[in-house]
Symmetry: C2
Subunit: 341 residues, 2 copies
DNA sequence: TTGAAAGCGCTAACAG
DNA sequence: CTGTTAGCGCTTTCAA
């Protein structure tokens, strides 16, 4: 029973009814000054009566912007994705910008299509997240397109600007040193998807710290994961069924750490008494499982919020912004404890 | 070093370079028939050379649509939100439609602003999720606006159409009967946010089933939650510190069930040996914790996918679609077991 | 199979 | 403070 879907009122209808020019109506609806209050009121009344709403497309056309920001992500962890989104939205709130989401399934598909998609949707700019934010081919495409973009955790070696980062390597090292300080020497490691730079960095930190401590590398202690919970299940199983299993496991993200906890539970291995498990990211899942997971807080929310901020600046100024780095933090919770002899 | 940001090529530039009319260029870029292959090629080449991309705003203006769908949600559970999004995106994939997300903080703020926002963003239609999909005031606003919409789990009593539902009441009852069949009689209940209809329905099912079995109602066994993990922590603590604590707890969603598991862990209460815990939704978290949670699968993904389908139909046909109902399923996992005497 | 001309609804100079 | 006049870049009759 919707009201007659009569053609929507336009600025001309409102102008006619209010007895003013369309320019004045435009001024009123854009909140511009230089309109007498009487007129302003009269226009608003006419607009309300006609149920007038400015046409977004017409406005976009002439203003040459859509106020649309695209968030591209490719990540198997729901918790991580939510943080990304909420961070971006936090910055966009109270602005005229809106957020469009673009999950990408396969990286191969997006190459060449990313800028295409962005243009087809009329985006004003895009936020690129790992691992796309590290990909030289994607970066190249982006830069050539002239489409404003900002990166979350984008590799500065690939391109030095427009990225919000943390010191991934240092963070992983700190976590490892914490494990050593607990007395652990048999430390297992679950990698992330090694096509992600962050996954490689964490693995490198693992090798570096162990080597620096003179611990002999045990290849069996490194299991390949892929950042997803399911992959953590497989990797955790591999590690925990070793004859000489590790006393501590460093999973490259919290989802996989949670998976390891589940594997341990099913084998009757108690955490942290019989096994220490640590994750990375401090995503929501880390504090939702029992025991709660010791992890490194990678402030994904803040990083994405800052990336959005950077993007808006670039859109408005037309200039590229330098990268920014923000801090991480070791968060000790219940899943880690001293080595039991 | 982006290429000179010379003004973007327009359809006129391409037409000129290809030596055809703009209408022909338009035909080529819309994939319309009735263009000789030679011409088509020539136009494409000219377009590529000029790096031409159709202007979305201009197209939207004349076609009177933006191909933008808005997803409005107000939910403290990240897992739930992700399912909503992925479901909608699943249907939109391979179509020309894109998804905009609108998290709603406070319901009060959105009333009156929802349609406003939708129009300001030029949306073609919107997907409304609980509890907004039950709210009479919001529904009224929506219907009067003429903006196409579809609802996820929207109350059919408030408005009979455009909703994808499950039989909430029956699902909750089945779960309760399962608990009874396990021998449990002291059954605790954690409510959701009671401003949500689904929360009320689940509570009603609890009272109904217990009454039907002749179990005396114990007010202490009902703790108020709010669907968030944090609220589950508080409610779980309340229930598990009772002198005569329940042997089974039914949390109104999985997040709160996970929280209850954590409280149990901290009190040294073993699940399922000493306590049975069940949730609702079968969201991702249910199978990521240890023990995995017994729950009722509310197919949020499918519901939202279908709501998106319904919405597209409505947009294209201009007609309202009847509601659809889909099935739920009891999923027994590790967190439930027979009553120990 | 192709093109000319007329808008879509709005903002933006530039006058008045 | 207000209005006139041009477009923005595209699709769409309607002819040819």
């Amino acid at each position: 029973m919707a009201a007659e879907m009569a053609k929507r009122a336009t600025i001309h209808d409102v102008a006619r009814l209010a007895g003013v020019s369309i320019k004045t109506v435009s001024r009123v609806y854009k909140g511009e000054p230089n309109v007498r209050d009487v007129i302003r009121e009269r226009v608003k009344e006419a607009g309300a009566q006609l149920r007038y709403r400015p046409n977004a497309a017409a406005r976009n056309l002439v203003e040459r912007r859509s106020n649309l920001i695209g968030l591209f992500f490719e990540n198997p962890s729901a918790a991580y994705v939510t943080e990304l989104q909420m961070g971006a939205l936090e910055r966009l709130r109270e602005t005229r910008y809106r957020l469009l989401i673009f999950p990408v399934e396969r990286r191969a598909d997006i190459l060449g299509a990313l800028v295409e998609t962005a243009h087809a949707s009329g985006l004003d700019g895009i936020i690129v997240t790992p691992p796309m934010s590290d990909d030289p081919a994607i970066l190249k495409e982006l830069m050539e397109s002239g489409m404003p973009f900002a990166r979350v955790a984008g590799d500065l070696a690939v391109y030095p600007n427009s990225s919000v980062t943390i010191d991934d390597m240092a963070a992983a090292e700190e976590l490892l040193h914490y494990l050593l300080s607990l007395g652990h020497r048999k430390i297992g490691f679950i990698t992330g998807d090694l096509s992600h730079r962050s996954a490689q960095l964490r693995l490198a930190a693992y090798h570096k710290v162990l080597a620096g401590t003179g611990i002999e590398a045990n290849p069996d202690y490194v299991a390949e994961g892929g950042f997803s919970f399911a992959s953590g299940l497989v990797a955790g199983e591999r590690l925990l069924t070793l004859k000489d299993r590790p006393t501590a496991i460093f999973a490259s993200n919290d989802d996989m750490a949670a998976a390891t906890l589940q594997v341990a539970f099913n084998h009757g291995i108690r955490v942290p008494d019989d096994l220490t498990v640590v994750g990375f990211d401090d995503s929501a899942i880390a504090s939702m499982v029992a025991p709660q997971i010791t992890t490194v807080r990678q402030p994904v929310f803040e990083m994405t919020r800052d990336a959005a901020d950077m993007l808006l600046q670039q859109i408005e100024s037309g200039k590229t912004e330098p990268s920014r780095q923000i801090g991480y933090k070791l968060i000790i919770r219940q899943s880690s404890g001293p080595l039991r002899v």
